[in-house]
Amino acid sequence: MNKKKLLIALAGNANVGKSVIFNHLTGLHQHIGNWPGKTVERAEGTLHFKGYTIDIVDLPGIYSLSTYSLEELVSRKYIAVERPDVVINVIDASVLERNLFFTLQLMELETPMVICLNQMDIAKSKGVQVDVKKLEQLLGIPVMPTVAVKGVGIAKLLEKAIETIEKKQAKPPQVTYGEEVEEKIGKIVEKMKNVHLVYPARYVGIKLLEGDEEIEREIQRINPQIVDAAKKLAGEIECIHGHCCSTVMTSERYEAAGCIARAAQKLVSPIKPTKVERLHNFTTHRVTGYLTLVFSLLLIFYSIFTFGDYTSGLLSDLLYALEPFFASVLGTGFVGQLLWGGAMEGLIAGITIVLPYIIPFYLILYFLENSGYLSRIAFLMDNIMHKIGLHGKAFIPMMLGFGCNVPACLGCRIMETQRERLLAAFVVTLVPCAATTVIILGLVGDYLGVHWALALYIVDFVIIFALGRLAFKVVPGEPTALIMEMHDYRWPHMKTILKQTWFRVAEFIKIAFPLIIVGSLALKLADVLGWLETIASVLSPVTVTWLGLPAITGITLIFGVLRKELSLVMLAALLAPTGLASMTPVQMIVFTLVAMLYIPCIATIAALFRDFGWKKSLFITVFEIAFAILVGGIAMRLLTLFM
């Protein structure tokens, strides 16, 4: 059979079950990466069907095709430039109007389309009956009903998509606007005759009227007269309607979407509070909502740390049991020491973080996200996050940061603009992660009491608050606000959660492991060559004079860059025989404070680098080292007055 290649793109609003459909279609043959040069995720997969090799691209979940967010820009460029053979537009049958608004915009890109009318079951339980035939007829695009979480209708959807491609179905029908708008679109299209862009001429006309920045820029380069003419025409529309032109056009699109939705759906049962409705009210209530939030967070962290601690210990015992075996094979010479103490110990460090902590964390995170609880958390935390210049959604990466800063930095992608992503990532790197918690509890908590540990946490929160505000003031850009859909609660699709977790963990391993292993190899090399003493004495002006710590902490703090709790473990070993107890209370506090603030670990730096480039990651790193040393020194001087 001749193997033909096809390209299918999945597009639609957020939370319509797009990723579930993507998982059904591609199974484990998927690859998650970034769009070139963008901090926007790109999920791709392949499948074989009827002799075709089909590449499927899951575009980000968005509500519009303007240039508001990076996701929107990336999606529309992809469809215009790559010209997929067909775009499957996944829409939520229970919120038809909003979803059709997006469908109408997709149609303007003039790519063949198939509509996947998903969540038919939820719509039914809400009393919304959608007439599929009618919808098909009104839109002029094939519509396939599905219940993705149960796998219903997926095969038929794929068949329909192939059929649409094979029939070489023409572009979807035109969406028409009001007369006065149409006339103006026509005028611009007329002028565009000799201009060739990746976007269809009509689309360019529409977007120029809307004042779309990206399209304006492109046309400006080719023929600035067209942009000027379009601006004038847009002005005329503004005069007629009294609203800015893009609002007029969006209104008309919504109007059209509303008409189609009303004609194709029937609301059967009266709207009464259902079980999900009651759950929503309970979890966003001014009292019970916050109680639920606090309780859930405590439960999550307690169970992850208990599970993680136990499993981590078990794993590390198991892996360290390999040491005699290694020693017998490689010997205890230079190479043997390097390979075990460097490479293997680095690997063990990685494994004992990933399995016990990262995996459960992601499982729970995706459960909360897919069920809809994360958006309620963002709703409840919005006003608090506003105090540091971010909005409610930023609480989610921060929450992740308490587990591990790496996924938290990557999780900042949920913010809309690049500025907010950077601000959120900066704040996140100051959040005490699981490893930092080990230091705080293991040193200050054990030797000085829980109240001191608690005080350190409070100090950290105050610092986060202050620096967050400062960064918000310093980084240029528009302040932001929360605009977020809160979809109905639903039971998530477990397989999708498992796959999302799997791909995230793979991403973590790819980012963190090479660095942890190479780093620990390098430090071991320095150790074997006897350079550590030299390093310690070079650093002593800072560690001994300014911070008042034992000289040896210079070395352990460097090791902490690999993995923060290592700095405590090593310190205990290096201070033998008396161990940590030989430190004064002030030294303990200062050491913990510095370890807590001084640098995101090497894996976090890598995660920052991936999303923000080396300049910004380097800046954050250097700033935090300097800041930690400053705060540590001041704290030492203040504390010696009292203790």
Partner: protein, 108 residues
């Protein structure tokens, strides 16, 4: 473009109580700056008019379905000056208070 605030029924969305609805008239440009607060009263409010024709967030609000003429129902507001939960076009949105303040509605 912007009508003077003569009509008493024309209020920011934040003035609606839980359960009340209004119809979107316009989204105000720029942002409201609260200058002083005394005894919980806002004694000076100034509307800073934006320079750009449509800033990103206005476009976003409109894209989310808050076009002029749309009915909006306030479900509730989160405590301590938190965001608003509203129903628009059959879906539930969370709007930050700063956003909600800029949406002028005619109370129903």
């Amino acid at each position: 473009m912007e009508k003077p605030n003569s009509n008493k029924r024309e209020v920011p969305l934040t003035a609606l109580k839980a359960g009340e609805s209004g119809v979107v008239i316009i989204i105000r440009q720029g942002h409201i700056r609260r200058k002083h607060r005394r005894h919980g009263h806002i004694i000076h409010r100034s509307l800073v008019h934006g320079i750009t024709r449509d800033s990103g967030f206005e476009k976003r609000l409109v894209d989310m379905g808050l076009t002029p003429g749309t009915k909006v129902t306030v479900v509730k507001a989160a405590p301590f000056h938190g965001p608003f939960e509203v129903l628009v076009r059959g879906s539930r949105l969370a709007l930050g208070r700063g956003m909600a303040e800029r949406i002028l509605v005619e109370k129903e």
